[in-house]
Symmetry: C2
Subunit: 172 residues, 2 copies
DNA sequence: AATGAAATTATTGCGGT
DNA sequence: ACCGCAATAATTTCATT
């Protein structure tokens, strides 16, 4: 995001080397490097950031403990796993009761093929990112798990032609 | 996705232990384990899958070389990095010339705060997942990089209230 | 392809600064 | 907080099956 000198909000940090969330420049560089390559060895991280390996270990451990780094995941080609199709499904919930929404939210992430679930503002309530083995399998998924759910008022499926992840990569 | 014995498409594989894409059960388990924990040590992977560490190393290396595993990435809390807001922006391209689409597609992933870009079927052409430091920064992003682009006919922003990643992200 | 053993390299705890 | 060092552990190569 571009800098914005006139916007309201938190005052700019005056302490040199300290950036949002109490992370200094080395922390931020470690996070960036591990976002690009999550398996980068501690030695290499240390050298790249100009600190000792033992210090680097402490830093990275601290980042994990503080929840800045939530975990590490392999980025997999789903096509190679027999799921060559991906879709985004915009969902409107019929009853906007808190219970229905909570139930839906709890159920969906465990459904087969689900990659992620966005709860969004606007005309739709959820946007669901799924993979599927075939158009038929996708159709079945929508019919069995979404259309059939009484909480779902409407589900509109868009096929994903291409999905480009930004670099450095972030949440899918 | 549920099994579907009546759908057309590739015939089911008859070779035991061989599943789509020429991956056997060990390969698939390695992929699954690395999807859950991308930093799981080779030793531990080997033990979990019942193969020798040296064999495991060869397997994982092969999975990477074949592109089944594209890479490893840290999963970062963007809020801790000063980007507490996320949004999905549905975009319609004005001219559907191939050149405009290609230019847009090439430009967007490098914009600041962009997490990923989906090229989709349906009424919208793209869905853009972004993070931002503040509502103001988000507004600026949309105005500067989307609305101002002559290729963009319409951009509709939805705030993300919650984003749940399925575990594991890859279907088992 | 898979393995065990050996060599190399990385991780990790700790005491000192 | 950071670092260097020493001990432990993991990775990687390679000869063999």
């Amino acid at each position: 995001m571009p800098k914005d000198r006139r916007s309201p909000g938190p005052a700019p940090r005056a302490v040199p080397g300290t950036t949002p969330g109490g992370l200094d420049e080395v922390d931020r560089e470690l996070v960036r490097l591990l976002t690009v390559d999550g398996r980068m060895p501690n030695n290499a991280l240390a050298e790249a950031t100009g600190i000792a390996p033992s210090t680097c270990l402490t830093r990275v451990r601290s980042l994990r403990e503080r929840g800045v780094i939530r975990g590490f995941h392999a980025d997999v080609d789903l096509g190679a796993l027999g799921q060559p199709l991906q879709a985004l499904i915009a969902i409107r919930i019929s009853t906007h009761s808190r219970d229905e929404i909570d139930r839906f939210r709890a159920k969906v992430p465990a459904l087969p093929g689900v990659l992620s679930l966005f709860h969004v503002s606007g005309a739709n309530d959820y946007l669901l990112h799924v993979s599927a083995a075939s158009p038929d399998a996708l159709r079945e998924f929508v019919l069995d798990h979404l259309t059939a759910d009484p909480a779902v008022a409407h589900a509109e499926t868009s096929l994903i032609f291409e999905h480009v992840r930004a670099t450095p990569a972030a949440p899918v």
